[in-house]
Symmetry: C2
Subunit: 441 residues, 2 copies
């Protein structure tokens, strides 16, 4: 019998604000950070790693919340726990004192994501499979038992969810074989940060084209003249056959979003991402109606499955960009994938940040093999930052994620990276005393 | 010139789980707690006090978040700050690193509420007025400048908001004089906690009737047979002319809510409160349609103004129960009151917990005097717990809140209460080592 003996948390922050990586109209100076969780067992070869992603200040709150969330795991039998991760999730989530602080949103929910991501990593390692394979080997009933369907029965019932999964079950292996050859298609945001100069933008866009990307995304929304100039550069470099997406990071009110996107329509964007408050279901529906045929995409700040349910019910979005470190891990993500399938909305997960690409590749592969069965209108985000800190980093070839082969959820960071960038006492922060240190104090 | 010199925070927890005060179908064992903020200035006679309310575990996260939220206040000139609390609010709220952890929801937003509640308390003390009077003495433009209208322009514009307030401005003093005589009507939840025996329920209901209450509220949703029996007792004691409200505290899915409330309809409840997830705008709209003429009430977990905007736009609720410690203080609450007025929805604030009654009395009085101008369908919650810890506790007479007269927001707790119940090192927690201590560790 193997037991969980500790759940440790780390406040890890990278000084990305120094290079303006990740800069957009709302988030001008983020220090990409992870509230990082390590589950240790009495088997020294078996650990679980997970995290949630933040922008710096407040990452300590998520790490401490994850520590509190993780306490009930200590002493659990690993095999019992990984055999019913739905029960483990409901046990942690059901703490009614912590629930009050959300419910199911904000710091307390980000912390649940971090801890359960580590549990899913542990489960995949125990099974000696990459996470996507662990999931695609689960039966429809096992998957639905793990999914959090609370508050969703007016949109999808348990029986409907099982039936959806049963339909594709016989053909799973065909799609798995297909992805083993082609990989899962992705797009790049690395070129389009708002803080980059026109020259850097042009150079990075050309590199993206040369690397085989068919989709690129630019940040917009701070200044209309800048947007017009930058989008013109983008079309000049990528041409009109490639797909161009734009992302406003929530800076507009609804009427402003409609007007501004109208002014950018000449560049034929595939989607406008986060046109307004991420909580505004009805607002997104209004924007979608007004800017068609430009699609509406949102979800990286989609706080929980109840928000996504309404986005689907209100026909508010064309693309669902769920976030692997904001939703309550695989348990809640499964519910969103099942609803997306029923409502016919493609899921194009949000990535970037710290390690999000490492996570979402598993989810997209699972989605294609077991849930959606199609790649139509699907493309998963990829951003080229900070992968060097991960033990099993994602691999991109020809604009596609290669299938991960190592056991786990690809969430493990090098111990040296964790030590160096732990805040505020890690080697980097205690020695460098960069300007960002002061901002993050 | 008077300056802010410190913002201190305290994790204060009361062991209410020992007596089952506050027990309902979702929250079985809360330890009513406050993340309590004290703003000190270089004038020893001028301080500001505020808090957010939680159920125990995780209150430390809110206190630490409030400490971080409060850092930019240190050094501000008091008179400049209180002259433009809209700017102070936007300054704190605009921290884009902390924003990522919500945005505008969960721990980080509860902390904003705590800090800005203390700032509004400070402003009212500086003006030597109770908060309601500070607000009713502000011009329509000043009120709208303080309000957070971001993301709301598709529901209410700045000009509309000013026009609404101008309309009632000439008659403010009449309504103020009226409330000075009658007080602001309230209802009691003290009788109906789920953990109370039938005998205790019957006795407390009789006491409520004897004290002049025309509205009482019972918790429901854990067991249908219990609900039927308890509601029968309630109608037996209060009769059929008094108003009976029921509160499910989010335990149902939408179809379940509709069915369960249908089974309780024979007791003619005025409203069903929190029938499902507080995030589910479309779900509340569906329940409302199905259970009419029983009203739908929600809002104590309404995370921000964007949620309330949609509740109004979707005609999802009959009663708006905003929370003074969950929304971003008066700045965000003003926006919700303005929208409620425009959409014709009565606001009946949530109270109870720790000190919420002390806060909401000010808001309800302001609403009647300056925004809604009517008491029709309005009744503010009152719960008889923990008032003894407050320096300026609310006073109830004949089922109505008396107008507060002391300067401030009535948010100050006795220093001895803060010291005794500070967690985990206060006198109570360090000496008693009650069972609740273990639960809260």
């Amino acid at each position: 019998m193997t037991k969980i003996i500790a759940v440790t948390t780390h406040d890890v922050r990278f000084p990305t604000s120094l290079s303006m990586d990740g800069s957009d109209a709302m988030n001008k100076d983020g220090d990409y950070s992870a509230a990082y969780v390590v589950i240790t067992t009495d088997d020294p070869d078996l650990t679980g790693h997970g995290f949630t992603f933040t922008l710096g200040r407040g990452n300590d709150l998520c790490a401490e919340a994850a520590r509190q969330r993780g306490l009930p795991l200590i002493g659990l039998d690993v095999d019992e726990a990984v055999a019913d991760l739905g029960a483990v999730y409901r046990g942690l989530q059901g703490d009614s004192q912590l629930r009050w602080l959300g419910p199911e949103k904000g710091v307390i929910h980000l912390a649940l994501a971090a801890v359960m991501n580590a549990m899913w990593d542990l489960a995949a390692r125990r099974a000696k499979k990459p996470l996507w394979k662990l999931l695609t080997d689960m039966s429809p009933t096992e998957l639905v038992d793990a999914a959090d369907l609370r508050y969703l029965s007016d949109a999808i019932t348990r029986d409907e969810a099982i039936a959806l999964l049963e339909e594709l079950r016989p053909s799973r292996s065909e799609r798995e074989a297909e992805l083993a050859v082609s990989g899962y298609p992705c797009y790049t945001t690395s070129a389009g940060w708002l803080g980059y100069s026109d020259d850097k933008l042009r150079r990075l866009l050309q590199e993206a084209v040369d690397e085989g990307y068919r989709h690129v995304k630019l940040k917009v929304g701070a200044n209309l003249d800048d947007d017009l100039r930058r989008l013109a550069i983008a079309r000049e470099v990528i041409g009109w056959d490639a797909n161009l997406m734009i992302d406003a990071n929530q800076v507009w009110d609804v009427p402003e979003a409609i007007e501004w996107v109208g002014r950018l329509a000449e560049f034929k964007p595939l989607w406008i991402e986060e046109p307004t408050s991420p909580d505004d279901v009805l607002g997104h529906a209004a924007v979608r109606k007004a800017v068609s045929p430009i699609g509406v995409a949102t979800g990286e700040h989609g706080m929980n499955r109840v928000l996504f349910k309404q986005m689907f019910q209100a026909e508010a979005i064309d693309y669902c960009q769920l976030d692997a470190a904001r939703l309550g891990s695989v348990n809640e993500i499964l519910a969103v994938y099942l609803m997306a399938k029923k409502f016919g909305v493609p899921v194009c997960p949000h990535a970037g940040g710290v390690g999000l690409c490492e996570l979402v590749q598993h989810l997209s592969i699972f989605d294609y093999v077991a849930v959606s069965g199609t790649l139509e209108n699907r493309v998963t985000e990829y951003v080229d930052h900070l992968h060097e800190h991960f033990v099993d980093p994602c691999i991109i070839e020809n604009g596609a994620y290669r299938l991960p082969v190592s056991p786990g959820y690809s969430a493990e960071m090098f111990a040296e990276s964790v030590a160096d960038f732990s805040f505020p006492d890690g080697r980097y922060w205690s020695s460098a005393r960069q300007p960002a240190v002061l901002a993050a104090s």
